[in-house]
């Protein structure tokens, strides 16, 4: 129904992204006359085909957020090129949706007002229709009039997802969107994101600390190394969906990514970095 219609609409709307060569240096003022530079990204090259799902993993401070912020258009000074369907990115735009680590809902607006906040000016009935449709999409029909402080963390993040999707972006950028959630809710949200992606076929770029999550969701897992942030490895995930987290292939892939961060002897029990 809604899903298949949106899928048709989305299929040709998904945008492909071409990154690189891209580097980014921050200049910090450390004294009245002194500045220091931090190279956050060094020579990143990454092509993301339209409609695909890319997971990015990397240790803290390796520049994942910086990369997403550049794609989102929030960070406009960088060296190199980032193009969306061939057009260079020069600032934020509705063709890219962002889901931040914290939900960033406006506490004084209700759930439906928060979702409509991102919507460009439309006739009132159309706004109501789209808000309702997206509330359904994230399974929060009953909470249209609730305020953010009345929601659980997972529910708030689902509202944030609805808000990011309501303008039908062609790329969805997710910066550790479930990092603050408990393990059970996180798994539930991963399934939800997958369902939405399968329905809408938006291009997805997901930054995460959770290797399990990266493998479960991505068509490809990109491993980044730090200082400066570069791409160390790209691993295609050839497994059919829905993926079984306990299948030998899944576990093997998880181990392989893990070895990028830890030597064999220090492999911890839980695969999280």
């Amino acid at each position: 129904m809604v899903a298949t219609a949106a899928r048709k609409a989305g299929a040709d709307r998904a945008a492909s992204l071409r990154i690189g060569p891209l580097s980014k240096t921050f200049t910090l003022k450390t004294g009245p006359l002194r500045t220091e530079t931090v190279q956050a990204l060094g020579d990143i090259r990454l092509d993301v085909p339209g409609g695909s799902f890319v997971s990015i993993v990397g240790s803290s401070g390796c520049g994942k957020s910086t990369l997403l912020r550049i794609i989102a258009g929030l960070e406009t000074s960088y060296d190199g090129s980032v193009t969306l369907d061939g057009r260079p990115i020069g600032g934020p735009g509705l063709d890219r949706g962002v889901i931040f680590q914290e939900h960033r809902l406006l506490p004084w607006l209700t759930v439906e007002q928060n979702i409509a906040f991102g919507l460009k000016t439309l006739p009132r009935a159309e706004v109501a229709r789209r808000v309702r449709e997206h509330l359904e999409l994230v399974g929060l029909e009953g909470f249209a009039k609730a305020h953010p402080h009345q929601l659980s963390g997972g529910m708030a993040q689902r509202v944030a997802i609805a808000r990011a999707l309501v303008n039908q972006p062609r790329v969805l950028l997710l910066d550790e969107p479930f990092g603050a959630l408990d393990a059970l809710t996180r798994i539930q949200m991963q399934q939800e994101i997958l369902r939405i992606w399968e329905a809408q076929r938006t291009t997805m770029i997901l930054v995460t600390h959770d290797i399990d999550e990266a493998v479960f969701l991505g068509d490809e897992v990109v491993v980044m190394s730090s200082r400066p942030g570069t791409i160390r490895k790209r691993l295609p995930v050839g497994l059919p969906r829905p993926r079984d987290r306990s299948s030998p292939d899944f576990i093997a892939l998880r181990k392989e990514i893990h070895r990028e961060f830890f030597t064999a002897s220090e492999l911890p029990f839980a695969y999280e970095i």
């Binding site: 509705l94 931040f100 906040f117 460009k120």
Partner: protein, 292 residues
């Protein structure tokens, strides 16, 4: 104190039980009331305990002959003066005059201060243009303006309203600017990502976020306005609570001086209660620490 609370609780419960025994239908209702009542009574008792104790000590000091009534008349005498002034209508006439002046001065201060503060908060140019003037005039106590106000406006209403306006506008202005400047940068980023219009950004992000500060500014402004009206009336007026106090002092009626002072305090409290209630209705989304 705790013994008092406990006995409150017990008597309330007894009352509830006795009444409940009469009619079966009322029983559960009254039972519930008896459960709530001790808490309410206890809190009310805690709220007034200190003032009541102070009044008792004051009265006792008089009864024991420690203080001369001309310097500090006892509560009973102040109470009598209050009843007399209220009965003659003088008290309410003066109160009404003062209140009207405050509301005029405060309303003008809000009408000027809110738009100006919002403008300055949003525009760096306007901020630069006005900052020095604001910083230089802010520390001048409104009372220091009284001589000029008398020169400019005479001792009519306008001069007093002007003093009140000066007292109230700075808290309103400064808090409004502060509130707008404290807009969460994460919300600013969100608005950029979603490309919301400037109008929507101001109406749905900046102003609601600044509202708690704006309400604080209004509350402080109203309090300062109330302080200013009395100060202005003490110096140049023929009506109002400040005049009532000054007039009573000249007649050595200390009890009436105290009635005037207590009325000022009570009215100030009442105004604050009204604005706080307005604040609670406006800002329902905020969950903050309210003491433990």
């Amino acid at each position: 104190m705790s013994a008092e609370l406990a006995s409150d609780a017990r008597s309330a419960q007894r009352a509830g039980l006795r009444a409940g025994a009469k009619t079966g239908a009322l029983r559960s209702r009254l039972g519930a009331l008896a459960g709530v009542l001790p808490g309410v009574l206890g809190r009310a008792a805690l709220y007034v305990a200190l003032p009541v104790a102070l009044l008792a000590a004051w009265q006792a000091a008089f009864a024991l002959g420690y203080i001369r009534p001309i310097l500090l008349p006892p509560p009973t005498r102040v109470g009598k003066a209050f009843v007399d002034l209220a009965a003659s209508g003088d008290l309410f006439r003066h109160l009404g005059v003062s209140l009207l002046r405050v509301l005029e001065g405060f309303a003008i201060a809000a009408l000027v201060g809110l738009p100006l503060g919002i403008g300055i908060g949003l525009s760096r140019t306007l901020d630069r243009l006005t900052d020095l003037i604001i910083q230089l005039t802010k520390p001048i106590p409104p009372i220091a303006w009284i001589p000029l106000a008398i020169l400019w406006f005479g001792i009519g209403e306008a001069g007093k309203v002007y003093i009140i306006f000066l007292g109230a506008i700075f808290p309103i202005l400064v808090n409004t600017i502060d509130g707008i400047r404290q807009t969460d940068h994460r919300h600013v980023e969100l608005a950029r990502v979603l490309e919301v219009t400037r109008r929507r950004f101001i109406l749905q992000v900046v102003l609601p976020g600044a509202l708690p500060n704006i309400m604080t500014g209004l509350r402080v402004g109203l309090m300062v306005a109330w302080i200013c009206v009395v100060a202005a009336e003490l110096i140049a007026a023929s009506s109002g609570l400040g005049y009532l106090i000054m007039d009573a002092r000249q007649m050595s009626q200390t009890d009436q001086v105290l009635v005037g002072m207590i009325t000022i305090g009570a009215m100030g409290k009442l105004l604050d209660v009204v604005l706080r209630a307005a604040e609670r209705r406006l800002i329902t989304w905020k969950t903050t620490f309210s003491g433990s």
